[in-house]
Amino acid sequence: SQTIHQWPATLVQPVGSPLSLECTVEGTSNPNLYWYRQAAGRGLQLLFYSVGIGQISSEVPQNLSASRPQDRQFILSSKKLLLSDSGFYLCAWSVRGIGTDTQYFGPGTRLTVL
């Protein structure tokens, strides 16, 4: 069966510090991968998605970047965090080539920037 992992679960970082959030998927190959951000009490905002190694699409201009160094690894990064980067970050995957189909979500990372 497929599983998706995210770490860390929670993170408190000062403004201006770097960020690295990691997401890995097990039990499937060539998945589509997604990073979302969810502000408190709000819906999900798609940040990045990837259909393959090194292929990243950015949805919104922002202080964040994403990389996919391996087929089942997706990393969200920032060189200098802003207060507005606080939120709940969710990684998800879907079957390659069926991007319109079901997405499977990780447990999320709660990021607080102080």
Binding site: G43, L46, Y49, L90, G99, T102, Q103, F105
Partner: protein, 110 residues
């Protein structure tokens, strides 16, 4: 930008009652999906309805889709306290992306 907008934003009911949530969207879609999110957790897929379908059932869930009105509804019958969560609709067009709505927060009191 968000494609789906759920209504109501919040809903409180007693156990045993039915809960109905609505979702409206703006453009043509390939399918529409409903997800559930418990507080502080990831989203869990509930049900997918394709654009050529009008109604779909899964256990206590019933989803309808009206493409002419660009709207969908999720009905949870005989609700339980464990159904307390936020519910999101997500629309899929013909790309690799889903666009999520703003969600309905459902509170079921025992």
């Amino acid at each position: 930008s968000q494609q789906g907008e759920e209504d109501p934003q919040a809903l409180s009911i007693q156990e045993g009652e039915n809960a109905t949530m609505n979702c409206s969207y703006k453009t043509s879609i390939n399918n529409l999906q409903w997800y559930r999110q418990n507080s502080g957790r990831g989203l869990v897929h509930l049900i997918l309805i394709r654009s050529n379908e009008r109604e779909k059932h899964s256990g206590r869930l019933r989803v309808t889709l009206d493409t002419s009105k660009k709207s969908s509804s999720l009905l949870i019958t005989a609700s339980r306290a464990a159904d307390t969560a936020s519910y999101f609709c997500a629309t899929a067009r013909f790309t690799d992306k889903l666009i999520f709505g703003t969600g309905t927060r459902l509170q079921v009191f025992p």
